[in-house]
Symmetry: C2
Amino acid sequence: MKEKFLNQTNPNVSVDCVIFGFDGVELKVLLVQRDLQDNLEIQDDTLVLPGDLIRDNEDLDEAASRVLTGLTGIRSVFLEQIGAFGNPNRLSKGKDRTWLEAVRLKPDARVITVGYFALINIKNYKIKPAGFAKHVVWHDYKVVEELGFDHNEILDAAIRILRNKLYREPVGFKLLPRKFSLHHLYCLYNEIMDAEIDRRNFRRRMLKTGFLKETDEFQEGVPHKPARLYTFVKKEFENVSRKNFKFY
Amino acid sequence: MKEKFLNQTNPNVSVDCVIFGFDGVELKVLLVQRDLQDNLEIQDDTLVLPGDLIRDNEDLDEAASRVLTGLTGIRSVFLEQIGAFGNPNRLSKGKDRTWLEAVRLKPDARVITVGYFALINIKNYKIKPAGFAKHVVWHDYKVVEELGFDHNEILDAAIRILRNKLYREPVGFKLLPRKFSLHHLYCLYNEIMDAEIDRRNFRRRMLKTGFLKETDEFQEGVPHKPARLYTFVKKEFENVSRKNFKFY
DNA sequence: CCAAAAGTGTTGATGCTACACCCATGA
DNA sequence: TCATGGGTGTAGCATCAACACTTTTGG
């Protein structure tokens, strides 16, 4: 069952998505276990980032969107390019070659991949395993081991960019439900950065940004004083670099 | 005279380099005027970024290096990826198509390009116009008009990244001679950022970083007190993001 | 009443801005 | 001696880190 749309597919360029989620405690990455389709006699439980070759009529961003939507059903989401990865040997590990030969029309073609990273609210979306990847897992970021191809490298680049972004731009909200407590946000920062931030200073600084609007709602069913819930509101954000803004 | 090495060249992936220089007053970009080689009857004075299709055995970084070296003779230099540009219509402007048909083996192939940006010391190197580009110009960044393909977009991305880098990392030095005065560095920052920085505070902050080592040399032949020259020394630079370092 | 987390204030240290002034050199 | 830029110092303000304490809920 090789690729349909063969004439519409560019054999030399692919996209791969690092999709981050946060379950309240741990940072998660969406990984797929690639399968060998027809060749059921071969075992391959290698985990990889979701990705695909691009089609001739689509932009890179669109290709990444397509992969993401196919996997999760999500349409509009925070999705940003990481960069291109083009090591000539990036497909030459043994297991990777086996897989390529089983699945690709031109298994020997050199492929440059463009990495993307996405931030999604893990609770809102149910993963729907689609097409080429039967098994989809939210995997704890901290215990990711060896992935297929050069995907560890892509993941490393993604986390670096995520930390930087979290530090300077209001993006953490994308990983949370629409309404969230400051404690929730605080946990997220503490988990993703590996810093121990002062709880009280964090709260003050966040509120000062003007990006948070308080709602009239509170936590429910907690065995302590329920926290107020906030929403994120976009505010003018001119000259990040000029103002040297920071978020923790 | 179409491409040699046809079987070694990947028709779908190219690199393009934004090469910055600083002449003491203005920020410059290295542009090439593409020519039509055999088709001398057609006029085309469009300026483009230097670039080329990648070869099958080379990494993206290597391809960018090759372009840079071919043009300037420089080997080791600050060269960093900007990202991939893959709009399906990026090659479809009229003049661009004419050029592609004259020069490329597969003029209709879709090409994704990977942008790079380089910082070089403009004075140390003489441009040697090589092969495919007869005319090479140091062009004032501020007055760049419409370039070929999507190269304005790539240039925009590059300047954005340059400003950010300059703000947070010690890279300005790469644009200057090995020994330079603080005034020289100050002019560079003032020009590239569009800020009016306080001269005295700038000096203090720069010196405090520990990246500058004073030499025993001074400016010569200036009609005022000659300034001391400094060199850049690498120092440990751990946790930029943690320390919220800034350079002006 | 207790545990557990929400939420508010304060203080001292640091760093930065916005200045004014003197110095050395060539013409 | 003048013009030009080099080089140093400082006072006040803003910001941030490191703290302790009170409040509100469920059990």
